[in-house]
Symmetry: D2
Subunit: 369 residues, 4 copies
């Protein structure tokens, strides 16, 4: 488990595959037996990864078909490892050989080459490509199906693209209804269009833009998480930083909280509908690393795609001389829309793991008939 | 490893102890053999945890004496687990029994009670108290000693307390020289005094304040970290969110980067002193989850201490009725100064783990004579 | 990692697939970069799994074709996870539905049904079938290729089938030369024929037989293994007990050693060819859980195949009444020959893991040209 | 978790300490909250480790006093890590310095020195001493207390010492009543005396003897264990091989089963008292790595203590010349009696871990009043 390709201690996700290899896949081990699961459950999440609007995405149209290889029998999970895979099609590796020795700024090319002694598959970033989030999303689809059995819902959505930011707060209902309407996955429909324009503009200039993705997890029971090192926020943050291009993660009020007084930031306990609740949710639903029953609210900062059309400075690692680089090939001018399902999956996988670990989700969901 | 009290896959830290128990301790397993290590190496870090200035800290003066129980022989680590412990002294648990059923807002009291069925040691937050960072700091002292053998230096310091924020950038030299001069651990001496005053003011009002801690890791070699899930930033973030009161973590430009264009945010490769470097460090030294040889820069948001002197609303968990709570006892009006060594330790422990894992640090540092 | 389908802490093997599912596969994570690896390297081990002699094996001829899905680029491992898969063909599940409620004695049918609430794929034993050793053998092929780069050789061979036992000691050379000559994988050619006859006789009677497999690992350097819980013999034994049908494991003199005196059993240290060696190898190359440089010698007891042709007593788990069962379908009258490569793979995978963990095998084998 | 000093994935045991260090201790993490636990529960198992009969044990009388450092509050476990420690007293290290460069045959001295570059604490075997089983026994005491809440009982006892072997089968009642009566822990009272004489004779000759320890685990529910790699027998075997001096482990009929026919070895299913049972227990209660509800029966082979009084051949590792060695100091002529509680603890710790993992034991045993 040292090589970094697995996450989760009980609901464990192991991924494989490279951007320009033949397959990208995932093995989900530790999913309880008795969950209804089909390829369609996974396919729907994969399809949502690609916005319908071709103007804002890479020309590489990755229509991925999820294939379940094991772990499902008669329509239900069996308790055995679930392997799922997609084929990489329409791979065009021709652009990469020319720039093999020219690490792209902002990508993992340079440290990956050093780390693996030059044996890494460098084409399209190889193992470090955003392409491999497909594996995360397939695992996320399984995690979300499992969580939904326990009424837990995970909703990610865009709140900013470049300098366009929504200032609205959304209900779960609004998010569900509106997020897929817009290619930018922002539930504020008017703002979503401006965001789309921001991306189109960046593309025209050979530029790229970043943004902010927010995520809420609803109905998580009280007491999910562990003390000290496996606190729920720590494990969520770890998973979120694994989404490519994330440079910041915050919970509840996040960085803003540092300017408040204790009496302003504390969420008071109240009784609400016969249950303990808090009057506000400044903490984002997590106290001391444990869920407190309120919505868990996270926000991640996404950097602009490092692949830009403009000429950039780099170093030729073969000659060790400074050099110029112009990146060709197909690239997304903004990865925020694709980050939305990845964020959702990272959160879902972590919650599934913690809820199984904590005993909130049993090993067998029901007895087979 | 499911109960959350261990971190690190090869340099593994396991902690034990509660705020009002008899001991707080740590077992560090996987530290290479042949590292010179003494109790004094650990003691110095423990002493730095408590600012000399009594005005800004809790009245509980925790003079902790580190005792090494195992794993060191003739002044060197042996490769066996290193256990270190401090005794909890001057513990006054009298204030807690009265409020046993009244969970303190902003603390883990409520979710911990639910999670452990009421068996948790609730005194002073028990296992969820900031007190247990003593164990993290003892592990951090060992990690820092190990890293220093490989010229890696980890430096944390305060950049904001409440509304007082420094706008200076610091060299490593300035940080080392000035951070311990000020009780608030800010290397900007003038600003440090204002921060101190901010804390004193908060204390007078029965209030508390939060702040920002920044941390840099210097001389980390290229290629530390793993792909996909154990990326270096993900594991650093996980460790940082385990420091009590942290609500946000960012690397390099962090949240600001979401507003830049790709050509603005990318760090170009250049040759510098015969080595590959980057012309800026917007990425904070990490690309695709791997270190790129540049300084690793992190920032964490610390919330105001939830224990305030003012009366607060809560719920009596025995009667399930809304209630009032006034917290007595000794509390820090600002945990930022104590968070500084905890942040440093979290980073050091994570880097030590990843550098051992990646093979940058060997299992035996040298041959014994 | 709780669901049991992974082994190895650094060279980590995760398997998936069921006996009558579509695929059986494995993900090997943590294999160093720079190892020359092809599908042929894996295929040869798969082919050796099926003895040429059709008289002694199941009629199901599992000609498996290994397909590498990821982790190999330009003929070398990249450091990324290596996924390998075979398709299950010629699967005939018709016999199993009739006996769904009648657990076969000696198989995992009954406890598996209870454990998974009836959701487990029961066809052919599903996840508990000997079929899944195909995944172990594919991982073993990679481990053996890696070990061979460091001159470590792992050789398993049959020493007993039913009541036929060889009393010879074999050199590595003899084993390599003769083991594949005989369908029973015994390097004592004369004895191997008697073993074959023993199996043929058992088959005729609708019976099955067990046996003993011995394994030696040569050229393992001194000091492989860890203290206390991950001792080398403990981890080898764990892997060996995972080979289906194993009921006993011993090292060196094994159970016989309990009757000796200390002065008889101790292996004295001597100098041999300028190196420290021992005058005997009663300990089987392991002391205190660490390799001592001598050949590692293990022996495993294999039970008779539980699927016999004779009518057996069982309980109908639907009616909870005692019942009779006659197993149809294709079964091996003796799994010893198929256990040989599985034992070899279990040992190879464990040694590869420990040698990578201990730093004897580096993360990158060489620099790419 | 790579350095080998932890075992168990959910009920996790981490040990520390060396034979001639100051302390030996253990951290048990993942023990459910709500288990009544006191130092006396642990002390009784420690006391049983040392047979009352001084003739057959080392002169070093290790009266160990268990001290609980954390994790217990108001007499119950809290869910936080439980640290327990004993002080090493009456340590006499004077004999070891003289033989520092002369590795004792049969001990870990030589490979440990190589592995740790000479930094290991070599006194009395240091980390590799049988002394560290004290930590295992303290963990075992907690595991046994936990298991007893679920009616699971683990009973180990001696069946052979040197050439003296009992041929009786024992009921659980007989074992409980008689095993502690005899210093050799054999429930066959007449045979136990002969075993004692065998040890006394060996001691007189400056010799040592080994033996066989059997262990049964009763009332383990059906379905404990995992498929493939974490099968219950594999994990039990791993734990058993970690008991010092164990060279063989077998379940049920063990090695004998290799000579039977399938129809002879299979345990038929029957109905007994309204429950599914088997008519025999040749499999030792485990099928396909899962418990089947029958008693789990294991047997381990213990080698003669390698420390004998007679002069032995060794190599001086400083001069690399062959040399002679006479071991002084205090040694047990037979470790079988001390192995009995270690075996029991290894089994109890493994069962506790698997029963928590499988969900048979919940995270909180009851609600606190």
């Amino acid at each position: 488990m040292l090589a970094g390709n697995s996450i989760g201690k009980e609901f464990t996700v192991t991924t494989f595959g490279e951007s320009h290899g033949k397959f990208v896949g995932v093995v989900v081990d530790g999913c309880p037996a008795g969950l209804a699961l089909s390829e369609a459950d996974i396919q729907i999440e994969l399809d949502r990864r690609i916005p319908a609007e071709p103007k804002i995405v890479s020309a590489r149209i990755e229509k991925d078909n999820a294939k379940i290889l094991s772990g499902v029998f008669n329509g239900f999970t069996t308790g055995a490892p679930i392997a799922v895979m997609v084929e990489n099609r329409e791979v065009d590796s021709s652009n990469y050989d020319a720039i093999k020795d020219l690490p792209r700024p902002g990508h993992a090319d340079y440290p990956a080459r050093i780390k693996y002694g030059g044996f890494n598959d460098y084409r399209g970033g190889g193992r470090f490509s955003g392409r491999v989030t497909v594996a995360l999303i397939m695992a996320g689809a399984i995690a979300k199906k499992l969580l939904s059995r326990f009424d837990v819902d995970v909703l990610a959505y865009t709140t900013a693209v470049g300098n366009i930011e929504t200032d609205k707060k959304f209900s779960a209902e609004e998010i569900r209804m509106n997020k897929y309407a817009a290619s930018t996955r922002c539930p504020d429909v008017a703002c979503a269009e401006k965001m789309e324009q921001e991306i189109v503009n960046a593309k025209k200039e050979g530029e790229s833009v970043g943004g902010i993705v927010e995520c809420m997890a609803l109905n998580v029971p009280v007491g999910v998480g562990e003390p000290m090192f496996d606190s729920l926020d720590a494990d969520l943050a770890k998973a979120l930083f694994n989404v490519p291009a994330v440079k910041g993660v915050e919970f509840g009020l996040g960085f803003e909280i540092s300017e408040l007084k204790g009496s302003e930031s504390n969420d008071s306990y109240i009784m609400k509908g016969g249950e303990v609740a808090t009057s506000s949710d400044n903490m984002g639903g997590i106290l001391g690393g444990l869920s407190n029953g309120m919505p868990i609210i996270m926000r991640v900062a996404i950097k602009p795609t490092p692949s830009v059309g403009k000429e950039q400075k780099t170093v030729n690692l073969s000659t060790m001389k400074e050099s110029k680089l112009t990146i060709k090939g197909r690239h997304d001018p903004c990865v925020v829309p694709k980050a939305v399902p990845a964020v959702e999956s990272a959160v879902a996988v972590t919650l599934a793991d913690h809820m199984v670990r904590s005993g909130f989700i049993p090993k067998v969901l029901e007895r087979a008939k």
